[in-house]
Subunit: 148 residues, 4 copies
Amino acid sequence: MSQDHSTASLSAFRWPVRVYWEDTDAGGIVFYANYLKFMERARTEWLRQAGIAQSTLKEQSGCMFVVSATNVQYHRPARLDDELIITAAMEQTGRASISIAQEVLLVNGADRAQAPQLLCAGQIRLGWVHAETFKPMRIPSSILEVLK
Amino acid sequence: MSQDHSTASLSAFRWPVRVYWEDTDAGGIVFYANYLKFMERARTEWLRQAGIAQSTLKEQSGCMFVVSATNVQYHRPARLDDELIITAAMEQTGRASISIAQEVLLVNGADRAQAPQLLCAGQIRLGWVHAETFKPMRIPSSILEVLK
Amino acid sequence: MSQDHSTASLSAFRWPVRVYWEDTDAGGIVFYANYLKFMERARTEWLRQAGIAQSTLKEQSGCMFVVSATNVQYHRPARLDDELIITAAMEQTGRASISIAQEVLLVNGADRAQAPQLLCAGQIRLGWVHAETFKPMRIPSSILEVLK
Amino acid sequence: MSQDHSTASLSAFRWPVRVYWEDTDAGGIVFYANYLKFMERARTEWLRQAGIAQSTLKEQSGCMFVVSATNVQYHRPARLDDELIITAAMEQTGRASISIAQEVLLVNGADRAQAPQLLCAGQIRLGWVHAETFKPMRIPSSILEVLK
């Protein structure tokens, strides 16, 4: 099935995440809202390695990214102690918002001989807004340059 | 703008939620993943008032609902101490999954003279699966009857 | 055993909380850190019924309560769908901090004929600090009056 | 002040944690209950490097560790993007429970020339219980050996 395979390009940013008790629920699996946290950690580190720290950005520009839409498909569950890889890749850039494609992959087996398995995929749209008024603002070109 | 107005039918189930510190983030607003928690509370109470307790259901049938897809649009942020209403209405029923339309509304003003304001809207798809194997199962007609 | 019995005075503030999926972990029980969220909801509502809204307080005084110490004993676990009562009672008041005794009780049985069962008890110390500098400040007497 | 200085022995286990949006609240700081999550991540990794994976342990022994008491002092807040170190060291071992001393330290400055600053310290007591009945059980000596 196509959903078994990651569509993340080889150039996508990758960030490792481990599943702890805090992430799971009584179904024995990761609580679905928590994949959004994993995806945000990867986006944050992707920005950081591009030289963008969000706390500094907010102080300097008075603006910040806020999530304006999320679209997530859950294919297979992750469990306690699982080792995950979260990807992030730019999908679309606009004047006041960007769209990021992300995947949650399960690292397979102790020897990691197999390809990681796709657990969950999402599109996250971020708007660039004024930190006080939440009015949409034009994304500084310095940021767009870095993210491309 | 159309996004200001709730499209929830008058017959939609409604559940009140208050915003606490735990729900907010350093942006001063509700952390976006937490709206999924609010929506689930409303879905759970909607099922409960229809006579369905999920913990009992799992014990008796060996099956449970899991979220298979979420699609959420964030229009305006909620803040600490805000009084919200979360709606839930059946959108579509299938053999092994159902789709639920939900809204997060802000109660306006102390006198509540104004209509609630739409903050966030989502479509949540739930699959009915075996609690151990997570294999998709046919939703019992007794449950579908109750939810219609 | 003494731990089975609530020591909350009859005059303690009481707030109902329902356990949802979001509160549980893969052990099948409420994740222990989440009882702190339940306790905070009760403290917040206790303050609110005394006429104190924390968001308004922060805007008007430039100060806020922050948790400076927690001491929690976990006796029995709560589970999905459980109906809980969270208590809050003033234990000690100082110039810059207050200490609050709280309990988490399980509502027993559908008929509620039995006394609620003690699941968890805690002492929470709150400091009153400047919202920007986090320096300890003297608690306004108007607030102390109300809480006694 | 003594609270500025870590009392963690040099031999304590150390685990790095980064602060993300998910960890913060509207006060602009890390939500106090979330330090318990950070501490648990460090405990989990401490067990893992000692060869103990909790999910495997539960499957094989039918038992698991549950938190029976927490005692946490909050000295200074952590903020978005902060780089933390979480320590874990055995404090006391009993037949059915162990007590672990933990600290949350802030990595100081880009050059890390200064010593990490103590933000938060806690004692966490874990009970070893049957995973279904939650009855206290005797901790296997194989586990105690490894943790000493």
